[in-house]
């Protein structure tokens, strides 16, 4: 069976899980403790990162960008990256916004500093990074509000990879209670629609031992 190596709170893994579920691809989910640098895993991906997808044929695809582009080419029945050149540009622009800018300015400063460093690396979080993360998340949630205020989905009328990339980051930060929903009603409405999709179910039921999410985390009505 198809295998996906992942970490439960990693937004890049979450994005791939959502895309695979939307495309109705079944897969076995394997939690990889990347920081242990397991030699067998490094043979699959010399970069040592998750996600890594291994197809039944043995074809091994590391990196969430490579995986999502591959899934769109290999399984085009459910298209998630737009049809016209302009639509595809807008999908990828927003994916890059979240996976690059949002990740650097928010996810790394909050999720990585507060959770990953403390729980998995036994090192101290940087107070300065956390402060920066809380400052910048406001700008980003306002930007997200602007987008979903004008459009049904992030890139227009069609649900796309852009929504899943954004929701993957948002859901990981929501697990640690860092989204102040009452301040961003338009984002909440958009996220509620995503949360109620079958592809979201597995994500919302995942739990990390010793780290309990807020009560509303898996509620469809929050």
């Amino acid at each position: 069976m198809r295998k996906l190596f992942h970490q439960p709170l990693c937004p890049f893994c979450r994005k791939v899980r959502l895309v695979m579920s939307e495309k109705r691809l079944s897969f076995e989910l394997i939690t990889e403790t990347v920081w242990k640098k397991r030699p067998e895993f490094l043979l699959l991906n010399a970069a040592g990162t998750v996600p890594v997808l291994v197809e039944e044929t043995g074809l091994t695809i590391p990196d969430s960008y490579a995986i999502c582009e591959y899934l769109e080419e290999a399984y085009p029945d459910t298209m998630l990256m737009g049809r016209t050149l302009a639509e595809r540009v807008e999908v990828r622009r927003i994916v890059a916004w979240f996976d690059d800018k949002f990740n650097r300015e928010v996810t790394r400063n909050l999720l990585y500093e507060k959770i990953f460093k403390r729980f998995f690396m036994n090192s101290n979080p940087s107070a300065q990074s956390i402060r920066m993360g809380y400052q910048q998340i406001k700008f980003h949630l306002n930007y997200l509000s602007e987008l979903v205020d004008k459009r049904s989905w992030l890139t227009g009328n069609h649900l796309s990879l852009a929504d899943f990339a954004a929701a993957a980051h948002v859901s990981a930060l929501d697990y640690i209670g860092d989204i102040q929903w009452e301040k961003y009603p338009a984002v909440r409405e958009w996220y509620a629609r995503l949360k109620s999709r079958p592809s979201f179910r597995a994500l919302l039921s995942d739990r990390i031992s010793g780290l309990v999410p807020p009560k509303y985390y898996s509620d469809l009505d929050f």
Copy 2:
């Protein structure tokens, strides 16, 4: 005419310039001082980053990942991303290696700390980051050596986007004298072949005022 907003030493801009030249697309090159956050530029790309490509039709494409995927779809005559699914996976894996891992571990620690911060931001480089960059560049140049030792080009027998992504980072670091060529003969041989391509010419003749590259920087025989 098509316009490309760029910064001369930015590896992501260099990658796009190489790809556009290989695809024989003419363009006007506009140096954007991104740190000044020019309002007209933020209208083109709210993320405020270069590269940004503006087509004659007005279609605006920010982000080097979105641009390279767009160029491959819009101008497929010269294919740079492989033909089979497996080839395309390998091209994107290596692009991600350089634009994500190499960038984070080497380019940001050396080019950003030593040049960008000092020349353009008037702030002090972090000695710790620079030390880390010099440590990690060895691992990466050894990895690059392994790849080009076994293959003509990074992903096999065909020149691809992977070569341009890697060469873009290498060329920017070479401008500041941070590649010790004598230690990596296989990488030098691969880079010499790339350097002699017409697409490389414009890159090698670019100069940043106040920052002189080593003599061998633009030599085809170095």
